[in-house]
């Protein structure tokens, strides 16, 4: 079996058995990158040399028996808004084009402690603001399934890198669907854990009260293993939760006999692509056959999620992004007269249009006279949405629906109409507003051959329920082989080669 076809856990198994070396997995990934990266542009920064040094260190630890976990020796990709000591962390923004942190994010540190080998930093929407990975200062990432299409976003680089086998697994971040939606568009598994499960220390904040780090993987088993590695209380993050039930892998094979699944009627209504609807309902049917009880119900307030989300997220972003001012690090404009001019030019030149739009929106909703009408009201909506979910979870164990209303749109289609793009987050953002865990798993493809994702949302701290449901589904469907097959048929040569590459821009 070809090395690249292994899942992360399978690869580590082979390495620990001594059948292959850590280096072999890394070699395979670099081969794949050499073939595909110039077309796809999944990465902003590649760390070839470092990855081999790390591979050697990990190999030694495995040989000495110091590393025996399920991720030992696995090549990983890290979203570029997670700080990595000594490696550019740009958030795909011009303003951080030269920012090299002196510290690593807690999630990255934990992953490395589990024996991960880091291949590079993946492309994303600038500061995670966007749903297509088109707002990156370093240029777009293309969907490995069809290069005319976006990979989704904002963790589009991570999702595409996993789908294109340019890594075995990746970390992303999810503020309004930024892991689940690109996972859906790229046919991989993506999970946003309960808010507070993974430390946000070292994650460059977009909207602090909504951001969570999570895995993008080839299958559910990998997802559980990675989440288990990165979850846990961190005293450096005040919003970190103290929880002991992070042995996620243990839950996978429990089955779903009698599990109550609710499908919100609103999730199947207007705006949902017919093929997506069909695939998701087929997925629900399969779960029913596996013993779950599935029914539709009325989840209230679905339509209020988007305005509340864009108010809260923009407000927090407008403040979180104030520190990028050209004073301490990052880009500073070349010529300026005085402090104010320096601020203005640096930020005008450093930020892209989508980021500016959200900074302006956020500044507006927080300004005196508007705070109550917008920001406070949005917080109230957030509370109501939380209550609606609490009510729903008194009847159901899992809420099922699509991850996105459509499959991946064509490049360029979304940015021309930001409101339409914002509406694309409708099924994912309420999980962020309510702090709930959500997972997207592949459930088929549309007539164009683009992947469709089915989303499962659980109650707070019920990742295990989600993982066991997703695992059961995956097994019933015949594993993740379908997606792998589709992937191998992609004709990488036919892609247009006009994509702007990271090397085109001087740093």
């Amino acid at each position: 079996m070809e090395i690249l076809a292994y899942t992360a856990v399978e690869l580590s198994e082979k390495i620990k058995k001594g059948e292959i070396k850590v280096r072999d997995g890394v070699d395979a990934v670099w081969d794949s990158i050499n073939k595909r990266e110039k077309d796809l542009h999944c990465y902003i920064t590649l760390e070839k040399e470092k990855s081999y040094i790390q591979a050697e260190e990990v190999q030694q630890k495995i040989d000495k028996g110091e590393l025996s976990g399920p991720l030992a020796g696995v090549p990983f990709a890290i979203k570029d808004n997670l700080c990595t000591e000594g490696t550019l962390t740009s958030c795909a923004s011009g303003i951080l084009r030269n920012f090299v942190p002196t510290y690593s994010a807690e999630a990255v540190r934990k992953l490395e402690a589990a024996g991960a080998v880091i291949i590079g930093k993946t492309n994303m929407d600038e500061f995670a603001m966007g749903s297509t990975t088109e707002t990156s200062w370093f240029g777009v990432t293309r969907n490995p399934w069809n290069q005319e299409h976006v990979p989704g976003g904002s963790s589009g680089g991570s999702a595409a890198a996993v789908a294109a086998q340019e890594c075995f697994a990746a970390l992303g971040s999810d503020t309004g669907g930024s892991i689940r939606q690109p996972a859906s568009f790229c046919g991989v598994v993506g999970m946003k854990p309960t808010y507070g499960t993974v430390s946000r220390y070292g994650l460059v904040a977009y909207a602090s009260s909504l951001d969570q780090i999570g895995p993008l993987t080839k299958d559910v088993t990998d997802c559980a293993a990675i989440l288990e590695a990165i979850a846990g209380f961190d005293k450096k993050d005040s919003t970190s939760a103290l929880r002991k039930d992070t042995d996620f892998t243990a839950a996978l094979q429990r089955g779903i006999q009698g599990l109550r699944i609710g499908i919100p009627s609103d999730y199947l209504g207007d705006g949902l692509d017919a093929e997506v609807r069909e695939a998701v309902l087929k997925g629900a049917k399969l779960l029913e056959q596996e013993g779950a009880l599935v029914e539709e119900f009325d989840l209230k307030l679905v339509n209020y999620g988007i305005p509340a989300y864009y108010t809260i997220a923009a407000a927090e972003a407008s403040s979180n992004l104030e520190r990028f001012d050209g004073v301490k690090y990052g880009y500073r404009t070349k010529e300026y007269e005085g402090l104010h001019d320096m601020y203005k030019k640096t930020r005008s030149e450093g930020f892209g249009p989508e980021v500016k739009r959200r900074i302006m929106l956020g500044s507006f909703v927080l300004s005196s006279g508007y705070y109550d009408a917008y920001y406070l009201k949005a917080l109230k909506v957030k509370t109501l949405i939380k209550k609606a979910y609490e009510e729903a979870f008194s009847h159901y164990d899992v809420i099922l629906g699509p991850a996105a209303p459509t499959t991946a749109p064509r490049l360029g289609e979304s940015l021309s109409d930001p409101i339409k793009m914002y509406l694309g987050d409708i099924y994912t953002i309420s999980a962020n507003l309510a702090g709930l865990p959500g997972i997207s798993i592949p459930c088929g493809t549309d007539s164009k051959g683009l992947p469709i994702g089915m989303q499962l949302i659980g109650d707070c701290y019920r990742e295990k329920t989600l993982l066991q449901t997703a695992y059961t589904y995956e097994k019933a469907k015949g594993g993740c082989k379908v997606e792998k097959k589709s992937l191998s048929t992609i004709d990488f040569e036919s892609a247009e080669a006009d994509m702007r590459c990271k090397n085109d821009k001087t740093i």
Binding site: N81, L82, C83, T89, C91, L96, F99, P101, T102, Y103, A105, R200, Y201, G202, L203, V204, A205, A207, S208, S209, K235, K236, D237, S238, T239, A315, E316, S318, S319, E322, R323, F324, D325, V327, K328, Y329, L339, Y343, S363, L366, S367, S368, Y371, Y375
Partner: protein, 476 residues
């Protein structure tokens, strides 16, 4: 005939808390140090860093709040105050607007017309900013973030003060409370305590408040007094001329004894306050508040009463001793050992304060221990040494905290108390000073003083002067 005006004053007092580490990270709060050496990703606003609240800051803030009779906010939050300035690495200051930790208290002060309660509107916690140095020569500015993230509390009073005396009385009282709690050293000159004065005037008898100004850069009690007087005059003159007072922030220049406008209300920035999503709300349980309350030290007013009844000291002594917790504690500890409250009080009030003043030191800088002071007092009580030797020994004790018993022993300062030995010496004195002896015998009692003086000289001041004069009289 000009109209009569009343002054209405409220204060905003910033106090730097004496925590070992900063409010949201583990960096040292120590003053000085090379630029940007007491810093980390958190207090320099690096991307991805997160604040974590220092519990000691809450303990101190609640302590001050309880001492100032405030309601403690059981569910309080931090808010971000957004403004761009390079001394503020995140370009927002973490502060409290909506739910400050303490509210609705008061501090009682003594005024000419009796005691008066000054209302405390609120006390909130916040972080200090860094320091900017403007290099005119190089035409650049340098930022030092060592102070960035040092914890502050801001105490906002009600507009309850009517003159500079009340303001200084309030600040004195507040400073003493905070120092008693050990929450800060409260040095106005060094900026660990900063007071901004909000002042307006109104016609006597009026109930409505006039337009106020806020005065900044007040670095001493004297500056505060001068600024209040100057601002009262300025506003009065405006009103007398039929003009209006503009709501603005003014900066006091104490050298020129003049203030100038910094910014008016129209220029006031919109700080876009909102709850900081990186910090969780603080839930102050009854247990937590009780824990703080029970660990509060006895404050000055209670201590005064207790000193009066327990030690029966004069009010004057009590005022001075309780004016500093260090002095008060030293007094009690030394008294517990030697059982001589008035003697201990005298040593502290006279010799100790004299040396402190000479050296321009605060009582907090006292290094000698209560048991050594007690030993010194015991030595004088037992007449092992006389009072002039004792003063000498005390000075050494003050600087070096020596053990007085050992010191007296090794330096042979014991009083010459052997009467035979002393008689021997005094006979010699009488022999050597026939003129004075004659004077004395002729009724000039003053001459005895001279002879005593000569005797002390001879004994290198080691003799007990009263014993010397008794023996001299006998011999003569």
């Amino acid at each position: 005939m000009t109209k009569q005006y009343d002054t209405v004053i409220g204060l905003e007092v910033h106090i730097e808390l004496a925590t070992r580490t900063k409010i949201f990270c583990g960096c040292s709060t120590q003053f000085g140090g090379e630029a940007n050496t007491h810093t980390c990703p958190v207090c320099t606003g690096m991307p991805g860093s997160l604040p974590v609240l220092n519990r000691q800051v809450v303990d101190y803030a609640v302590g001050v709040g309880l001492a100032a009779n405030c309601n403690i906010t059981r569910y309080c939050k931090f808010d971000r105050k957004n403004y761009f300035y390079p001394d503020n690495p995140q370009n927002y200051q973490i502060s409290q607007l909506y739910l400050p930790i303490c509210q609705n208290g008061y501090i009682e002060i003594d005024t000419a017309s009796g005691s008066k309660k000054i209302g405390i509107h609120e006390i909130h916690m916040e972080e200090d900013a860094g320091k900017l140095t403007h290099d005119e020569w190089e035409d650049c500015s340098l930022a030092d973030y060592n102070r960035s993230g040092v914890p502050l509390i801001e105490i906002v009073t009600e507009p309850d003060m009517r003159n500079a005396q009340e303001v200084t009385a309030f600040l004195d009282k507040l400073r003493l409370i905070v120092k008693y709690l050990g929450a800060s050293d409260c040095k106005l000159q060094e900026g660990s305590m900063r007071a901004d004065v909000n002042l307006s005037i109104r016609e006597s008898g009026s109930d409505t408040l006039g337009t106020r100004t806020e005065m900044k850069n007040l670095n001493s009690f004297k500056a505060i007094t001068r600024a209040i007087e100057s601002e009262y005059k300025r506003q009065m003159e405006l009103l007398e001329e039929g003009k209006q007072v503009i709501q603005e922030t003014r900066r006091w220049d104490d050298n020129k004894e003049y203030s100038y406008a910094m910014r008016s209300k129209e220029d006031a920035q919109d700080y876009r306050y909102f709850p900081d999503p990186d910090l969780v709300p603080i839930r102050l349980s009854d247990e937590w508040i009780e824990e703080i309350r029970s660990s509060l030290p006895e404050l000055r007013d209670e201590k005064r009463k207790r000193f009066k009844s327990k030690y029966n000291l004069p009010d004057y002594d009590i005022d001075i001793l309780t004016g500093s917790r260090t002095l008060a504690d030293l007094f009690e500890e030394a008294t517990a050992i030697c059982g001589q409250p008035k003697k201990v009080s005298n040593w502290l009030m006279v010799e100790t304060l004299r040396l402190l003043k000479e050296r321009e030191m605060e009582p907090e800088a006292i290094r000698f221990s209560p048991d050594n002071l007690a030993k010194l007092i015991q030595l004088t009580e037992k007449k092992t040494i006389n009072s002039s030797v004792a003063r000498e020994v005390f000075e050494i004790l003050f600087y070096e905290n020596i053990d007085p018993e050992e010191y007296v022993e090794t330096h042979g300062l014991n009083t010459v108390s052997n009467e035979d030995e002393l008689q021997e010496i005094l006979r010699q004195i009488i022999e050597d000073n026939p003129v004075s002896v004659a004077d004395y015998r002729n009724g000039k009692k003053k001459a005895l003083g001279f002879l005593v003086g000569q005797s002390m000289k001879k004994t290198q001041s080691k003799a007990d002067p009263s014993l010397v004069s008794r023996i001299l009289v006998e011999l003569l």
